[in-house]
């Protein structure tokens, strides 16, 4: 479904992605882990064409999205939904209008049908009667749920998550992880999740890849990752300050 080949990206002469190659199969939850500043979000933005690589390609259903025109890229993006780290809800719109936005942009549904779908999507993420609230009135967990409802509005084939549990307390993190898992089981769509939440990753993932210094240093099923001999992987999974990776 998604194939990333030898992806390179530098900012100001500093390599952020240094030859990433990944294959993300259809219908799975694929978690990309790594420490802060290791290029996870940059990689995610390449997958949906928000950034263009210096070298390499991103293939979605065998189409290299790095070579598409802006109009063609918009066509491919209709296959995607994305939940941003801060939810990225439009703060000048109500919750209902946020979730309705992609429906109004890309479908010819009549307004009562749009409202019914908005209500159903919000109910799916456990929210009721919040359509008239504004993003500034929501808690972090509620914002993420609304962001997920918006990402699912057009029934996409692929949903990207950028740190879905960052900034949430452990209980709310678990609620969001469970919600992601339930949603994926219900729709059987491809989820690509960027995270540094090891517990959540092992709870949700069919496959995990780990980034370090812009490279993939380990990938496989959760069981394979636990057995990975790479000390960088093991240090990250253990959450230890002792090992080859030194943070200052």
């Amino acid at each position: 479904m998604i194939r990333i080949e030898e992806l390179h990206k530098s900012f100001g002469g500093q390599a952020v992605l240094d030859g990433i190659t990944l294959h993300i199969p259809r219908g799975e939850i694929f978690v990309i882990m790594g420490g802060s500043g290791e290029g996870k979000t940059v990689l995610l933005k390449h997958i949906i064409g928000l950034l263009l690589p210096d070298r390499g390609g991103v293939f979605v259903d065998e189409v290299d999205i790095c070579r598409l025109s802006r109009a063609e890229l918009r066509g491919v993006r209709k296959k995607f939904g994305m939940l941003f780290q801060g939810a990225a809800l439009f703060d000048s719109m109500s919750v209902g209008d946020n979730v309705a936005f992609p429906l109004r942009e890309h479908t010819r549904l009549k307004e009562p049908e749009v409202r019914a779908r908005v209500k159903a999507r919000l109910a799916e993420v456990g929210l009721h009667g919040v359509e008239h609230k504004f993003p500034s009135e929501l808690s972090g967990g509620m914002s993420k749920r609304v962001g997920l409802a918006r990402a699912l509005a057009l029934e996409p084939e692929i949903v990207l998550f950028d740190e879905p549990t960052t900034g949430l307390d452990p209980i709310m993190s678990d609620v969001i992880n469970q919600l992601i898992l339930d949603t994926q089981k219900r729709h059987r769509i491809t989820f690509v999740i960027i995270s540094h939440d090891v517990k959540g990753a092992f709870q949700m993932a069919d496959r995990i890849a780990m980034l370090h210094k812009g490279r993939v240093v380990g990938q496989g099923t959760p069981a394979q990752m636990r057995e990975d001999p790479n000390p960088i992987v093991q240090q990250f999974l253990a959450g230890s300050s002792q090992g080859p990776v030194v943070r200052v």
Binding site: L50, R70, R77, G81, M82, F84, Q85, A88, L89, E105
Partner: protein, 255 residues
Amino acid sequence: MNPITRTGRRVLSEVEGVGRLVLVLLATARATLLPPFRVRETLRQMHFVGVKSFFVVSLTGTFTGMVLALQTYHGFRSFGAEAMVGAIVALSMTRELGPVLSALMVTARAGSAMAAHLGTMRVTEQIDALQTMAVDPFEYLFAPRILASLIMVPVLTVYFDFLGIVGGYFVGVKHLSIPAAPFMKAMVQYTDFLDLRDGLIKSCFFGLILSVISCYKGYTAGKGAEGVGTATTEAVVLSSVLILVSDYFLTAWLF
């Protein structure tokens, strides 16, 4: 990093910046000139740029006309040409002060808000969210603001001209006791429709300048609150400077 590498990187960065600006301008031109047009959003922006600027334009227009009448009266009185005050006020308003000052007022009120709004959308990833939802930000964010400015800045200019002339009449005739008939006669004799038309051509250019620059600065805002603040300041300063510089060249071309 040695000086040659540093200079090379800087040159490349500048060239990349120019290239990005050209691409944004092309995308903006296409989104503004070609359908689909977002009528509802354009109307909303027209309300924001135009209707909400009426109060500030009313104040500045009226007082500009009043002070202009006062200044010219004191100068012209020394050689007995008080009746020309009406003509000077009308010509200055329609040709110069109306287009320039109303555009500067719109820059300060609406241009700054455009840059701050788009800048906030940029730093909170709302523009990225738009793009991931397959919506063209130039069509959704730029085009309605540019069209609204192109329409409403000339409307505000006419309003500014009118109130300036009324203010000048009030000071000249009611306060300084210039006879109404010669005041009006000189105004009508020396001002014609072409003065108004050329002033409106200027105001269209100014509307374009302030909206494109404000949207571009917001769209390319740097990170965080500081990035939004810098983008807003740059939008207002650059728009104001370009309005004044282009005013000279437009005046040389039109009059």
